[in-house]
């Protein structure tokens, strides 16, 4: 497999200048997963430089006590942008970039399941990044921290548009992440090569497959919260305004119900990378494949129930504190199992210390420390001292930089040869590594002690208390080393891209399928796939005398479900998470009734009638699908028209309800009943409307006779979505209209 020694052939070399230019421009319209992966990575690298410069400026301000380098408001904007940028515009895009490039290759697919959705998901990232940064021109960047705690983030305390741009940008980025996650799930389920059973998936793919489920469940929770925050800010709602009956703590629950899964969403790609690199450079298979895979599922499940450990100091009460303490302690177990398996993989191996492995070893030790200080935050009384101090800053930078960024650096050195056809310089790589190790640890180890000495996070300056001065200076000096390391990385990328050693197909003698094709891989990835009968197809080829044991049954064909249906079902799961939050918020305020209008203003009998229309439309759509299946075009069109009519009637009914409320002076800003009622039913109505638009498109297509029988899966998928919207209404109806009758 190591045959290629000539320069990587690119179609670009065969083109005349005009075609050459066109070839370049094609990057903008590409739907190729590899190009999109590279676009993700370059976008991530760009924002990594932006966020890194922000960090550098922040640390310069903090180098000495009572420094006047930055104005306080500038500092506050910078740390908000630094956190938001690094999380949403660096770690997430870079993780998704590697997944985009290598997940299809690892499973022997030609592309992602939905190439155009893939491009859509990517382009939302620069769009979101521009929205976020546009706030700087529109009155100032947000200055509320990356978790934007209410009520500081509400209009009375943050009156410029920074928070609005922040919220809209994150909403857009969230949609992009959900789109990509749906694509990942559909790709893994529907696009695996023959022989690539779920039990043979490379761990990078497996872990990121699990991660995609976390994304579709967690990101919609954030988006629900952002929608509520924007309704507060733009439409004078009251969700998170305590002096109007809203709840500051509710924002925290919503944000961290997203935010803690988000921590794992960020770290899972890193776990995947390390699970690939360590075996290759230990020359052994991963120790305990099943346990590494299963522990990922355990972490994903538990991650949905640990958010309260961010809130041990807001006064949740002893019972809730205890619950979140034990759930957060438990999540340490599967995480620990992973670290031990990675370590055990090295034991008994023949370790090669190339740059990717160096970064993984540093990852292991730094992530170990990050995990341990993480456990200390689950021990509630310790959190009561260390939370919101520099101890916490040190902890999460050990995760975000010490683990995630180190793993990403490992991945860059590991996979750059595959992406470019050329090796990165080992010499420059070792400079990057050592500067990074020294700089990172110099910056962040000391911050644990600063926190214990009482220094809070997010202060633009500080008094000259004992030891604070020299500790902060040391921390700032460390950043300079990291900045130098970043320069070495960028320099290495630039130089090696043009002048690096030719890589060949499989420079590391690795075993997964991305190494079974050329570097870079051709369009649609593979000329021919090797047989897949174990987790390491290329090991089996290289060592025919001692191949890996066959994993599972040796089927050559894989029954693969329809990708459109898989995609839409996944989308429905994410939508369900979104509506669950809106419903819970409604119930939260329903349980705390306020003076003013309440559910008694609503017209229950009329709503029941209109609800029947909506429910009937599910039936008529089902009839339409049957008619399509039986090739009866007229009948299909008839039932479809009836469905659309019934849906339209329902919207009219909802409009009448709104109109009556407006007439009596009730709007979204009246009180919390009104705010939560209009938000919940409004978003449902919006979904009905979008469903109607989709059905109208289908009607138009069917009318034109454009509906080949093979397209029926798309129609069925739209049907799933329509039924889902109706089911949501069952819950809304029960909660908003029927529940008060039971009182």
């Amino acid at each position: 497999m190591n045959g290629t020694t000539t320069a990587p052939a690119s179609p670009a070399t065969l083109l005349d200048p005009a075609e050459h230019w066109h070839h370049r421009l094609a990057w903008l319209s590409t739907v190729d997963h590899k190009r999109i992966g590279v676009l993700y990575l370059l976008t991530g690298l760009f924002f990594f430089v932006v966020g890194g410069l922000e960090a550098l400026v922040l640390r310069v301000q903090l180098a000495v006590p009572k420094n006047h380098f930055l104005q306080p408001d500038t500092f506050n904007q910078l740390f908000t942008m630094h956190g938001t940028t690094m999380i949403f515009l660096v770690v997430i895009p870079v993780g998704l970039g590697f997944v985009n490039y290598f997940l299809p290759l690892q499973i022997g697919a030609r592309d992602m399941a939905f190439p155009r959705l893939n491009a859509f998901g990517f382009w939302l990232i620069p769009f979101g990044g521009i929205l976020l940064h546009f706030s700087v021109l529109a009155g100032g960047a947000p200055a509320v921290g990356w978790f934007s705690y209410a009520p500081l983030s509400e209009t009375p305390y943050s009156s410029t548009l920074g928070v609005d741009y922040w919220a809209v940008a994150l909403f857009v980025l969230g949609i992009g992440s959900v789109a990509t996650a749906i694509n990942i799930i559909a790709t893994v389920i529907c696009r695996r090569a023959p022989g690539m059973t779920m039990r043979r998936l490379p761990l990078f793919t497996w872990i990121n497959f699990v991660n995609a489920f976390m994304i579709i469940l967690a990101l919609p929770v954030l988006n629900a919260g952002l929608a509520m925050l924007l309704i507060d800010r733009q439409l004078e709602g009251h969700f998170f305004l305590p002096f109007h009956g809203g709840s500051a703590v509710l924002w925290q629950h919503i944000f961290w119900a997203f935010g803690h899964p988000e921590v794992y969403i960020m770290v899972f790609p890193a776990f995947g990378i390390v699970s690939e690199v360590i075996p290759v450079f230990s020359r052994k298979p991963i120790f305990g494949y099943a346990f590494v895979a299963a522990s990922s599922v355990a972490i994903a499940v538990l991650s949905m129930g640990v958010w309260g450990h961010h809130m041990f100091t807001v006064g949740m009460g002893r019972a809730a504190n205890s619950f979140f303490a034990i759930s957060s302690l438990l999540i340490a177990i599967p995480t620990g199992v992973k670290v031990l398996n990675w370590t055990a993989t090295m034991i008994g191996g023949r370790l090669r210390f190339d740059v990717p492995m160096l970064f993984c070893i540093a990852f292991l030790i730094q992530f170990l420390l990050a995990g341990i200080t993480g456990i200390s935050h689950a021990v509630v009384p310790l959190d009561w001292q260390t939370k919101n101090s520099y101890f916490l800053v040190a902890h999460f930078h050990f995760v975000a930089v010490g683990a995630i960024v180190f793993a990403f650096f490992a991945a860059v050195y590991f996979w750059f040869p595959k992406m470019s056809g050329r090796m990165l310089s080992e010499r420059l790589g070792k400079w990057t590594f050592w500067l990074m190790v020294i700089g990172f640890n110099m910056t962040f180890i000391i911050q644990h002690f600063l926190g214990l000495l009482g220094m809070p996070r997010r202060v633009f300056t500080y008094p000259n208390l004992p030891h604070w001065g020299w500790m902060n200076m040391l921390s700032t000096v460390g950043v300079l080393f990291m900045a130098a390391a970043a320069l070495f990385l960028v320099w290495n990328l630039a130089v090696s891209f043009f002048r690096g050693k030719i890589a060949g197909d499989n420079p590391w003698n690795a075993w997964t399928l991305e190494w079974a094709t050329t570097s870079p891989p051709p369009h649609e990835n593979f000329h021919a796939l090797p047989p897949i009968r174990s987790r390491r197809p290329l090991w089996d080829i290289a060592n025919p005398d001692r191949p890996d044991p066959v994993v599972g049954e040796n089927t050559s064909e894989i029954e693969s479900p329809d990708k459109t249906k898989t995609g839409i079902l996944t989308f429905i799961v994410s939508e369900a998470a979104f509506f669950a939050i809106l419903l819970l918020a409604y119930l939260y305020f329903y349980a705390r009734p306020q003076p003013g209008p309440g559910p008694r203003e609503l017209d229950v009998p009329r709503t029941l009638v209109f609800s029947l229309c909506l429910f009937a439309s599910s039936f008529t759509l089902w009839r339409s699908e049957i008619a399509l299946g039986r090739q009866r075009r007229g009948s299909m069109l008839g039932w479809l028209v009836l469905t659309i009519t019934l849906g339209g009637v329902f919207l009219v009914g909802q409009g009448m309800e709104y109109w009556k409320l407006f007439q009596t002076g009730v709007d979204v800003s009246t009180n919390l009943f009104a705010t939560s009622f209009f938000t919940l039913t409004g978003f449902h109505g919006l979904h009905v409307f979008l469903g109607l638009v989709a059905l109208l498109i289908f009607l138009w297509l069917a009318w034109r006779g454009d509906f080949a029988p093979g397209r029926s899966s798309a129609f069925e998928a739209a049907g799933y979505y329509w039924h889902f919207v109706d089911i949501v209404w069952v819950f809304v109806l029960l909660t908003v209209y029927i529940l008060p009758l039971a009182r």
Binding site: P72, R283, G288, I326, L340, L368, S376, W384
Partner: protein, 310 residues
Amino acid sequence: MHASNALDPQSPQARAIYDLGIVATIVFVLIFVVVAGGIVYAIFRFRGREGEPEPKQFAGNEKVEIIWTVIPFLIVVFLFALTLRGMNRADPPPAPSPDLVVTGHQFWWQADYPASGVVTANEIHIPAGKPLSVRLDSKDVLHEFWVPELARKMTTVPGQPNNIWIQADKPGVYLGTCSEFCGTQHAWMRIVVVAEEPSKFEAWQQAQLQPAQTATSDPAAKGLALFQTSTCMNCHAIRGVPGANAIVAPDLTHVASRKQIGAGILENTPANMRKWLKNPQHVKPGVLMPDFNFTGQQLDELTAYLDTLR
């Protein structure tokens, strides 16, 4: 020198956390040494040489997996037991009525003593050796009350008062800060807790309860007049001055008795007070007190008046 060192606890509550921290740290160090030891051992023992054949391929061991799942589980159970015990010790249920009410404002602390009626700001006096039940509230956004040597930290949530216990075993000055980001000047929302012998604390309380001295002599009297005519009273209270009872900003009845200005940004000296009054937005940009553009003479008069409020 005064500090805010969580590793130097000065109250039973803070000590409970510290003791728990010591036990936990021993466990953590053991975990780190064992696992990092394994990694370092692998690095040195299994370093590959050029041209060596591939090592023996083995892909796991279920017994080992079970062992290293069960041992962490036992550690987790142990830490959870410590957590439950630590919560009770560091944070007992509050007293029926608080001894002290601390209210967070952007960017200062209001302290009310319900039993005596004393109201002060940023500098909290407590009697040494006595546990105080403290209610924490907020007038605007989230803040967080953190004096590491004396107590756990706790967020002040508008509309949802929280309670903690605070105590200082010995007289002394203990430093703390707002630790939840609360806006532009979050950095200068610091706390000074002064623990005194009970008799001294009682004397302090009595002194605080006195209304402000009436300014009789020039320039202090002119300063008082300026205070009354320059909208100062819209925000600041001075007991004894008719109409001056707003609590938007710190109570100034005994402002000169306090150690600091602007929640920690300046030492409280007449010269610094003049500097503050001249241009508060320059001293503490973003503070909710506007610049009044006082003339030099007015500044002298106001400073002289505030200096009488001891």
